[in-house]
Amino acid sequence: MRPKGVGASVPRREDDRLLRGRGRFVGDIRMAGQVEIAFVRSPVAHGRLRGVRAPERFAGRVFTQADMTGVKGILARSGLKGFRVSEQPALATDKVRFAGEPVAMCVAETRAEAEDIAAEVALDIEALPANVDMLRAAAPDAPRVHDDWPDNLFLETFVDGDIERAAADAAIRVTRKLRTSRQCMAPLEGKGCVAVWDRHMEQLLLWTSTQMPHIVRSGLAECLGLEERRIRVAAPDVGGGFGWKGLLQPEEVCAAWLAMKLDRPVKWLEDRREHLVAAANCREHHYEITGYADAEGRLLALDAVAHVDAGAYSVYPFSACLEAAQVGSILPGPYDFPAFRCRTYSVCTNKPPIVPYRGVARTGVCFAMESIIDAIAREARLEPYEVRLRNLVRPEQMPFRNVTGKDFDMGDYPESVRRAVAMIGHDAVRERQKAGEPDGRRVGIGYATYCEQGAHGTSVYHGWGIPMVPGFEQCFARFTPDGGVEIRVGAQSHGQSFETTMAQVAHEILSIDPDRVSVSHGDTALSPYSTGTWGSRSAVMVGGAVATACEKLGARALRIGAHLLQAKPDEVRLEGGAVVGPGGSVSLDEVARTFYRRPQNLPADVDPDGLELTAGYRPVVDTGTFSYATHAAVVAVDGETGGVELLDYVVVEDGGVLLNPMVVDGQIYGGAVQGIGTALYEAMRYDANGQPLASTLADYTLPGAAETPPIRIAHMETPSPNTRFGQKGIGEGGAIAPPAAIVNAINDALAPLGVEIGALPATPHAILSAIAAAEAVR
């Protein structure tokens, strides 16, 4: 491997512009003649929209769906049997279906003036009872979100398994009701876009803070009735995504339409209140789950009913059922047991539409599964790690097909537990627990193990039948006439560090210094097609595509180089930015110069396609990589305040070969802190009318530096047999396990009080209430 290639912690080249405040985010784009829009949003969760009235003096500045003739609603179907289709209009038409749903847009020179107009637009809405509780949504008298549906279900799935026999022999049976809260992904930069009709290109140009420009283009084309070639979607610097920027939004459709209508650049920036109120759209799961085990804590069967609150509409491209339907296949996690039954419901409610957030369904699934494992451990009077060791898939079983037919590629799951136990100092924590804290707090230790299928491709996604099935990932690569390399990929980097890591990959293959490689991404005009950055797929798919393209480009350079060196093609190799042969070397600069400027020196049979190409990549086995990790947390719970302090946090992780370990650690730290938010802080609560009860970051608390412990990471690095370098997808993993590990630790601490927390987030109030309730019982 090369010094600045795969596996090296190369410092990031993205940093300098960002550290000097010279990044270009969508809010920084300003075009001559630009106008800004503010949306009038529904104040109620459910209602019949009878009219929109704007004062006369704002004629021509307020638009509703009625003005947008020919613009189609957003449709995200799924091919899964029984899926019910919802159509989301860009602006609400006959009904409003969640508080915050856009109803009208107001346009002015500045956002402040647009908000002035919005404040004077009156909505005539007949409020209807709201469908807020997903567990009651199936009741016959539950309000119907979509009038023409027979009920409120997007989809119901059932995985049948013969659990009865296993259950009959079980010495241990534990049942729990578990809940995760509805969250906002809350990237620090909100969503935003600038749309303009580009006369020169006869094209709609949409700058948007997105993770998937090509997908947004396809969706936009469908809604606007434009050919895709008439649309260019480009992402500038994007201030975090986490899933929230992985969809086509109604606001983007509105801005694009308005830019064409007014023939002026139109800008919309989501503010924090809009984000919290209208985009609280992820993670809300409920499980009723029963685990059966023998007396030694060996899992015999798992039986679960899962509800996911999918909100009011099916979101483009992932659809409304991605989460719930996944639960049925991923709930068993990294465990080997014989019998599994699971029913899932994707429930339609009067809340914002659900969007997959970092980890997607896995965070909820891991919380459910790991809570059951700990419950079994308490029943069996075993250490929780011991129960994990007894049930995890063992390395000698790999490759392994589990109870739901998932193909695990390889890895040593139990070893991740053993290492975490050693790193966290399990026995010392138990000693400390016995001794008691001088300040009276209660210490607890908790574990969570998960495996994360990442970068899954066609063979997995075609079955979902959603608007987007990932196929080949492509990369454009070329030598410039002076010997530099340009890499263009269609995915998008918003913190994932492509500009650094993909240059490392190019360096690995071509040996050219990474500083002479530029990487561009996230622009439909500049790059090949890509489904974008999601599903922990970039390192595997984009990395694989860049490697493939560079290999092919390198082969062409080698041929020219060999000719210049008068060596045989099989005698030369790429080294130090040069083609090196037995008798000497010629720099890649010279090779490029020769091709472009001195073609007279080229061999007669030179490849006329030259020093640029697009190459595609898909792993032969494209069911995904399985990275996995064990997280261990030590907490101190203050029984008087309900406060939880994270004393220690350890992650033992196997992401295969790490393209850039520094960047991987960064993803894990960041993901883990988001997981801490899920575990302890973040919740969007609703009242019974479906009013969201937080609209500022004072109400919706995100973890800060002081709430975060120093996190210790250890890597195992078992290469994946299926990927180019042995890398695995790890981008989401950090966010999966913390809620399970932390709540398990809290429950370990509070077990002597007979207290067990089963709902996220575990706030001081929730913990104190549980303690008070337990005391009342005793």
Partner: protein, 375 residues
């Protein structure tokens, strides 16, 4: 109005923007200095942190016209600052940024921390960083980068100059008698109804015979006059009413206009006033129902049971509930009761100023904004 002047990154600039434009937008939109980012626009996230007269401050809640003569420094202005250069290098070495959106605010804060904190103590650095949110990095690299720079030595910030303004004004008038602390008017209960609305029940005794109190309750104008800030604009014979209520709560004020109806059951000595209204410019909607029942407590006294059920939608509703309603609804119901007693006795209401809009709306507003204003 005299025009304000600021120094921005060493350059003098006149403030020629509309007064309402906050400093962050002034920098971004007028001065084209886009390093300063907006992550919340309500003071919590720290993305907009700049230096105002050398000290970090939120530019989203500062206004140029109020800062005449101030010196503003943004990240663009720190290009040649040696400490900022060291921090930039440390941020890169420690991978202290991913998307980079929080980074300008983080750097401004990190520089201030490095100048004030002498020891590279991780817990202290984390506490000092608590006002700057980062959603990507988990703070690990940021904390390490700052610790690294502090560990390598930083010149301390000069100690703060002692304050030396004009001495504060001396008291010139006699101390006002402490306001008497009113006794609670009666037990008050709060509950959340099945439909999500909030119910406040209050009971008090007024020293008048039931017939007199009943007669009073049959005149909506008189009842409404007892609610500070409320006025009726129309009363129909069939019980339909129109009116408006002004609420004021700290810096918040809102005017609700709406319509409703009154009804009464003379046999049971009970009745109801219900209504719905919308707040003009704010988009908040409210529905509410006040019910009352009168019971005799001896010949000369009447117990009044009042319950208020309300629900809010829109911006004022979209802030967590809090128990502040308890206190305010209590105080206002007390004022209402006092006013009622005064009116029954033929005196002017004790407190008619629009300090609130009656227990109903006042408490509705308060219960919802609590978290933002305070908790």
């Amino acid at each position: 109005m005299t025009q304000a002047t600021l120094t921005v990154n060493g350059r003098r600039v006149a403030v020629d923007a509309p007064a309402r434009q906050h400093l962050a937008d002034f920098l971004r939109e007028r001065e084209m200095l886009t390093a300063t980012h907006l992550g919340c626009e309500h003071g919590v996230c720290g993305a907009c942190t700049v230096l105002i007269d050398g000290a970090p401050a939120r530019s989203c809640i500062a206004w140029p016209a109020a800062l005449d003569g101030a010196e503003i420094v943004t990240v663009e202005g720190l290009d040649d600052d040696p400490l900022a250069a060291r921090l930039r290098a440390a941020f890169t070495a420690e991978h202290a940024l991913q998307c980079g959106y929080c980074t300008p605010g983080m750097l401004i804060m990190a520089r201030d921390i490095a100048r004030r904190v002498r020891e590279p103590d991780e817990a202290r650095i984390r506490a000092e960083l608590s006002g700057n949110l980062c959603r990507c990095t988990g703070y690990a690299g940021i904390v390490r980068a700052i610790a690294r720079v502090i560990g390598e030595g930083v010149d301390a910030a000069p100690p703060r100059r002692a304050l030396s303004g004009t001495a504060p004004l001396a008291a010139t008038v006699a101390a006002a008698a402490a306001p008497q602390k009113a006794e609670p008017a009666g037990a008050m209960t709060f509950s959340v109804e099945a439909d999500g609305s909030t119910r406040i029940a209050q009971s008090f005794v007024t020293p008048f015979p039931r017939a007199a109190v009943w007669a009073f309750f049959q005149d909506p104008r008189k009842i409404v006059a007892c609610m500070p800030g409320a006025a009726l604009t129309r009363v129909e014979a069939d019980g339909r009413i129109e009116g408006e209520m002004r609420v004021a709560l700290g810096p918040i004020s809102a005017a609700f206009a709406g319509e409703g109806a009154v009804s009464a059951d003379p046999a049971a000595f009970s009745g109801a006033i219900e209504g719905q209204g919308a707040e003009g410019a704010g988009g908040t909607r409210a529905t509410g129902r006040v019910t009352y029942a009168l019971r005799e407590e001896g010949p000369e006294a009447t117990r009044v049971d009042v319950s208020v059920v309300y629900a809010l939608t829109g911006p004022l509703a979209q802030i967590s509930r809090g128990g502040v309603a308890r206190d305010l609804a209590g105080r206002l119901t007390r004022v209402f009761a006092d006013n009622l007693a005064a009116s029954l006795a033929g005196r002017a209401p004790v407190e008619a100023a629009p300090l609130g809009a009656g227990a109903l709306l006042w408490s509705m507003v308060v219960s919802r904004v609590r978290r933002l204003l305070g908790r």
